[in-house]
Amino acid sequence: MKNSHATENVIETQELTKMFGKDIAVQTLNMQIQPGTIFGFIGPSGCGKTTTVRLLTGFYRPTSGTLSVLGKNPSNFSNSDREKIGYLIQQFVLYPELTVWENLNFAASFYGVNPFRAGRLNKLLDFVELKEDKNKLARDLSGGMKRRLSLAATMVHNPELLFLDEPTAGIDPILRRKFWDYFKELQVEGRTLFVTTQYVGEAAYCDLVGVMYEGRLLMIETPDGLHRRAYGGDVLAIRTTEGMNSEQRHHLESLPFVHGKVKVIDENENDVIVDEANTAIPSLMEWCLAKNLTVEAIEKKSVPFDDVFVKIIEKEAAHV
């Protein structure tokens, strides 16, 4: 797909703030998102994710700060600007008395898509695996099918920027995985995706992740970067044939690239936090050899994002 904003940021905000009366919904939000990115916007319910999306789509006007989407302030979007945007709302808002096909056709019409569009609609239904169900009434669809129909309706006008507000909320893990496969395909086509989610584990599918908490954007990181920010580095699991004694552990903790205490998992496994896994692994191999420890494996530990998120929030709370 052709991208008219290949070099500049697709989304850019500076000190973006939204208040409802005296309540601050979004506070001094700064971010830049490059074209072709899957940007995950993660945070607990009520933290300001939807408000941010509504600011970015032009649904809300900011209280203060500046924002630019596709090079323009969303409040000044023209119709042709709006045609470049796809917006998936949290709840199912299409018409229950219309069939899958009719709903999609309606969405295509109100985005002004050329009437000779049957081929495109079929392709979309194929993409979200609803082709067999196109004559079903929307009210008879399952929750997952409704989400897929909504996604197809969001893409019906071939937008270059997609705002997907909790697209995977309330659907089973298998379908969630499938959704992220769709998003990857959309990214491959050159689209930019701004995806909000409560499922912290979905951060792994994103190129960049923004962590939102109580209206503030705590950080924007890559999924790996999140791990490091949470734990102060990469977590490595060292498995040795012989058990590590306390003297050896103390020595390990004193190495310059190792941070904090060694965490004992069991007799043969210990976790350490290092600056950078790739450079630390050879050094640790050498250290084990020097300490007469037979290494079974030293590998980067995949800490669940739930834990990473909790750790980040705990750190933030402590900081506040």
């Binding site: 789509t57 032009g58 709302i89 299409l94 018409y95 219309l98 009719e102 109100f110």
Partner: protein, 434 residues
Amino acid sequence: MFKWLIRISAFLGKELIEIVRQPRLILTLVLGPFLIMFLFGLASPDQSRALRTTFVATDPNAVQEELKLFTESYKAGIIDMGVETNKELALSQLAAHKTDLVIVIPDNPLETIQDNKRAELEIYHNEVDPIQTGYIETIALIYVNVVNRQILETVTEQGQADSDSLQTNLETAITKTQLLRKTIALSDVNTATQAAELEKDLTDVHENLTTFRSLTSTVMVNPFSGETYSLSEVEFTVTEFFAPSVIALILQHLSITFACLSIVREKRSGIMELFRVAPITAFEALMGKYISYLLFEIILAGLITALAVWVLKIPMLGQWQDYALAVVIVLFTSLGVGFFISLISETDTQAVQYSMLLLLASIFFSGFLMDLRLIKEPITILSWSLPATYGIRMLQDIMLRGSSIPVLIFQGVALIGIALFLVDWLLLRKKMDS
């Protein structure tokens, strides 16, 4: 270039599909009004209501002759339920709705009249409805008039019969006067003149008496009769008269009900958020909705009219193009009212309540139930702000009088319709922008 047209068509298709997907609703919408008119025709009385009446006479034997007169007069309006001697019992039956009227006959009516006094009939009823009370008072008045007239006719007939012997005596008197005049000496001019004058007077009285006897008692008592003539060539039944009003009222109600639920549902479903982000404008959305509902309701109005005209035989004296124009403008304005309700309502229930209130207001103030000329100022302002008022007036003129569309009425409703479209557009734009 024509993207706005495509966007309008989005709503056109969507609304029509949603309606067509409810065949039972369509059937109800078409057959409902037809059935209402049909049942109304069956229920409408062919003649005015006769009143079940008990007569009270303290001594029925004493007034036997009079009773016959009282009970058999005005059979069209009075149903004789018998004679009761106990007034209280008769009134208790009236209170229990077993009878509609109690007429108490005075004890000695003829003696009272002979004493140069009016004999009073006490007439009791048990109605609270002012319209029914008025009806009963009219029936009572007609009844008393009929009774009085019958008495007068009887007295007149008696007088005519009595005048027979009087006329024979007069003829004898005239003959005698003629003979007397011939015996008077020619020189006695004064006496002869007086005799001639007497003869002439007697002859005049005889002629007047002849005229009196030749007239029927009915003509004597009711010398004038009245006949009414309508400029309309057709005489309508109650159903025929009400049919245009029912059609106008139903079309207004259908439009308002459909439209009032349309936007409020979208506000509640959350799709409005999508509209605000998408390239569609408030004008395009509103236009799409107007066109789709208008198309659907024109078809519906056509079906209802066809059933009314060809099945119920409701007359259509005017031009079809005038009728079509009147229907379309009433539908357009009613849609405006419906969308306005939809835009100011927060829930479906609230919208339906508003539309029911409007229906109620239309029944009372649109000229449906009460003639517009009877409605006092400034309530007429309310009347003329209802599309049904214009609809009833236009359809009655076209269907029943065969007139062309009343231009001023048409312009009035069109003006309201256009104003409502603009207000609805501004309100929707505000909702989509804010």
